[in-house]
Assembly symmetry: D3
Homo-oligomer: 149 residues x 6
């Protein structure tokens, strides 16, 4: 009986996306070391402030796949939350992105690049059968999505 009802609900076998939200608080500045200070100031404005500024980043990690018939889960959100904490928050939270995160020593920590890096940090820990998408809010008014499409 259980199987019947379960299978019935999933006959069309469309994909479901499940998203987990986490957050981290970091300092950063936007700066391209190949440019003069003047050009950096002109392009990045107050985001180039030499002593850094910071944000509460809100991170949404979306995993796309089929619902498992035994669990009713796409993926266990407890696992997802742990992976985000150990691979991303541990590295970014209460840190200076430019100084404390190796990948940003030579890469500008724009919200676009942070989202791409989050994707690369998480991708190896999410099974290949799943798609993975990142949404990252730098402020409630500015956010990025990667990969898009």
């Amino acid at each position: 009986m259980f199987n019947f009802a379960f299978i019935k609900l999933n006959t069309i076998k469309l994909k479901v996306a499940i998203t987990r939200k986490e957050h981290f608080n970091s300092a950063h500045r936007l700066h391209n070391p190949k440019w003069s200070n003047e050009k950096n100031k002109e392009i990045f404005g107050k985001c180039n402030n030499v002593n850094y500024h910071g944000h509460n980043y809100d991170l949404e990690v979306k995993v796309i796949g089929y619902v498992d018939e035994e669990t009713g889960y796409v993926i266990d959100t407890k696992y997802l939350s742990e992976i985000i904490k150990s691979k991303v928050l541990e590295k970014f939270d209460h840190k200076n992105l430019n100084l404390d995160v190796e990948e940003f020593k030579f890469l500008n920590p724009t919200v676009e690049n942070i989202a791409i890096l989050v994707f690369r940090l998480l991708r190896p820990h999410i099974e290949k059968k799943y798609e993975l998408k990142i949404k990252l809010y730098e402020t409630p008014r500015n956010f990025v999505e990667y990969p898009y499409e």
Copy 2:
């Protein structure tokens, strides 16, 4: 004159999505009756609590189609809201999903499965010319989308 302006705005005939948000408050527990109590506890953790727990579910129902030239609507959101209330909220709101909702008597009421059921309850009441998508928040930190893509 009216027609002209109207037609002009819609020449490209791209699709528009319109979304209506509603909410319901339900009790549930995650449990697979084919498993032992130990396995249920191991897999579902505190979500398996024998006496249930509960959530304020936030539901977004998205309907995708073309804008009607007479009304300027994709679909009347009053109709959409009434259908959600009569077909979904009436069944789920202030209820125990496991005990009071027939479809979950043999199906685990994970947020994934609830979203799929919401889709199935609404689909017959939305004309075939429209696409339908469901987004369901179990908490502000966990949500699903179905169908995805």
Copy 3:
């Protein structure tokens, strides 16, 4: 120099309130065991559903006092967060308030009574020099504050 600046900022010695938000997800039903089932249904409506329903409760715990000159804190929010987790969330989160929480076996778990109980659970763990106030959201549209004034 440090002391001077610090003292200067605090000469007026007005109180500061600091608030920490946490959340828990619980099932409950409203029911007065001294009344008939009919009267319970009449008074509590769908909140009286015999199989329970549930909520995502958002809890704000406010502590009011003076800023410590050494730390710049009213109270350490890490301590506050730990106390809320061990004394309140451990007891309420992913539980059935009526069945799993002893205090509600003979007390109706309205949002008013839950807030009063949260206050009583936390008060012994917050030093007497502080005032303590509780704000509890049952839904984003209904919330209580205790004590008020």
Copy 4:
């Protein structure tokens, strides 16, 4: 060294979407001048109120493209914000959409049509290499997306 790290992060060359949120406050009424007053009232209900009503519109403008290797930006959000302000907010904010916005003199200012118009106002000011998408909230419970797909 900088180049190496940068290139490494972008080898897959997937698209990134960046979104900027702005808002405007406008009066409007829904009305089709080709219909009788009775039909307008029947179809649009209280939204047809002859003296208008109004909303706080929340507007999200999404630009989709590749990350520039020099800046780490898809597009400069300062530019995006300025374009939204000069081309959309200047026209809609603290205005009556029916009376003060020429395009709505013969077109019903539903949230669908407003979103389509926002798209048309912004598209010429966003380089062709970018995709552009509009999300417009009429209330926190009703919103549209255009183009969808």
Copy 5:
């Protein structure tokens, strides 16, 4: 037993506040008919736009009193919600405050004055033993509270 536990929780008899949120969407303009058009424009700026603009008003109605021992309620929020709907929303929602609401024919519908009027409309329907407080958001960035203190 029930009484004992109940009484125990309420021995200190402190007040509890319960708040209900509702919303309405209205058009308005700020204008003092005793002033010249020039002075109105100078003082109220774009809020003086002759054809009106509008807002999604979020209304919080707070009732302060003691918890009833039989119900565990300060006041029944269903009653509170109905009173707000019949006395306030019926009058303001999808209306032009200046033209459709009699009290604003000679009174400037600033968010301050709207909140005072909401208080006066509700006060006769809330028993004298309760205190009543109004919080009214004109936008998510501007809100008033009345009476304050």
Copy 6:
């Protein structure tokens, strides 16, 4: 007629509070220079990170007074917004609070101390007939209010 209605609404002459929300993004670290590095780390934990971290601060400035009969305002929120921008945001936004804000060179920039400083920066620019209150969110989960009571 206008006067009559107006006076009628204000006969009780209770106070109204009006609040304006603004935000700023800053880097900071918690550190007491009179303590050893070990003690700083022990007390402030990851908030003591030597290279700083940061936040999106949400600031609410509340002004309490009587409604002016000519304008219907407690205070002009445009003035309030300008004062916040010139006296607070100019100083804090996209800055490092420890390094770029003189007052924090010898004072720990906890959210409590930032709120007190905001109050001191704004108080001289708000007429004495008004009360002034500050609410400052460091994150959506931690906020302070000053002065309290």
